[in-house]
């Protein structure tokens, strides 16, 4: 049963987000893993298994968009929901244009997050090519 849950990975340098989000994600019915930096996520065994990435925009070192680019280069096109504490209305259209599913401003509601996750997983189901590649990676 547990193995059928979709894995949502959270990359955020803020500890209170890393601590609080997994419980909510589990309440939603997802599996959750957290990482404090983009590098830590890339080094983990979760890259191929992650079905949706909740990604902080501004982080020291590798930023959220940096990680997004790195994943593209590696042809790991995981749907991304950005989260940010910088309430800058200009940033959202820019991130969406570059392929993000959603950009939520902290603090965001549980329903807004759930909608974004559903939209992200929808992307998963419709992009069959990506699905097969993930399937291969998992094997």
């Amino acid at each position: 049963m547990m193995s059928q849950r979709s894995l949502v990975s959270v990359v955020d340098d803020d500890e209170s987000v890393r601590e609080s989000l997994p419980d909510l994600l589990k309440e939603f019915g997802f599996d959750a893993r957290t990482f404090s930096s983009g590098q830590e996520f890339l080094n983990s065994d979760c890259v191929g298994k992650t079905q949706c990435l909740i990604l902080d925009v501004a982080m020291p070192g590798m930023s959220g968009p940096d990680l997004q680019r790195e994943l593209k280069i590696r042809r790991q096109e995981i749907p991304i929901v950005f989260i940010t504490a910088h309430r800058d209305e200009n940033i959202r259209p820019r991130l969406l244009e570059q392929g993000a599913v959603e950009c939520l401003f902290k603090p965001f509601s549980d329903t807004a997050l759930l909608e974004a996750l559903n939209a992200a997983l929808q992307v998963n189901w419709t992009t069959g090519v990506s699905r097969r590649r993930w399937g291969n990676t998992i094997e």
């Binding site: 209170s16 909510l24 309440e27 989260i83 401003f105 603090p107």
Partner: protein, 367 residues
Amino acid sequence: MVNDEITWSEQLYRIFEFEPGLRITLERIATRIHPDDLHMLGEMVDRARRGAGDLQYEHRLLMPDGSVKYLHLLAHRTRDNDAGSVYTGAVQDVTQRRHAEEALVQARSELAQVARVTSLGVLTASIAHEVSQPLAGIVTNASTCARMLAAEPPNIEGARETARRTIRDGNRASEVITRLRDLFKGKDLIVESVDLSEITREVIALTLGELQRNRVILRPELDDKLPAVLADRVQLQQVILNLLRNASDAMANIEGRPRELLIKTEPDGDEHVRLTVKDVGVGFAPQEIDKLFEAFHTTKKEGMGIGLSVSRSIIERHHGRLSATLNDGPGATFSFSIPCGPATDAVDPGAILTAAAMDAHHVVRNL
């Protein structure tokens, strides 16, 4: 100067646009002087008659065609004869320079405004970011908690844990606010023996150019025999500077009456000294008096409303009182009184907006 005989160079005739050879009298000169600057002519003549050594004035001419010229006059008493003193001087048409200066001041104040808005914007953004992080944790934890309680059966242990985290993140958010307060909290008072009249004179010297440009007539009445106070010189000077600037700003758009600014120091009973700044500016609405000293309250378009609030907290840290009254005539009077005695325990931990914040304000202002 008793007979008021005046001899001009050709150039001076050209500046005043008088027919060459015309007999120059004070009355004739007065017809050219800008009405708002006429008082300067009277004052200059008074001073010359009293035998002042040097005369130096900047005033304007209002020409028949409506144009305005700026003149700089410098005169020196060269010798005395039976009829009185003889002054030799030079008058320079500084209109071009003045226009350039005004353009510079304008540009500088626009720049300062941009810088102030920017720095406030940056500050606001960083506050928002710092507070949003724990808030995100609070909202997420509370949502999780509600879901755990709504589950069948309710997950009491999980809910308790997320509630505990909610509290902790709430405390984190409030720590951010505390740190922010510390940021604004001033340095400790550096107390020394201070002559209030002397430090006022220093501030006046600093602002004289600015006051002259705003055509403010400063009337200092500084008591030379004031008892010394134990106080922080720089902080008190910031208060004085602030009161002077406010008074000058309050008169910036006053026409039709001289922009007189009285600054006065005097003993206040046996154990206090008092400084008073009185202007004839726009004043304030009587019901506004309670708000004058609140942070972020301002009547100025370009003001942040920090000056008076900081000034009051500085004066209170000196165990003094800063107050405002409306004049019987136009304008307002601001005045503070501080005790002469030791101010050793003057540091008030409650004063959160003090000199540091004001320093920053002035750095931006003086950009």
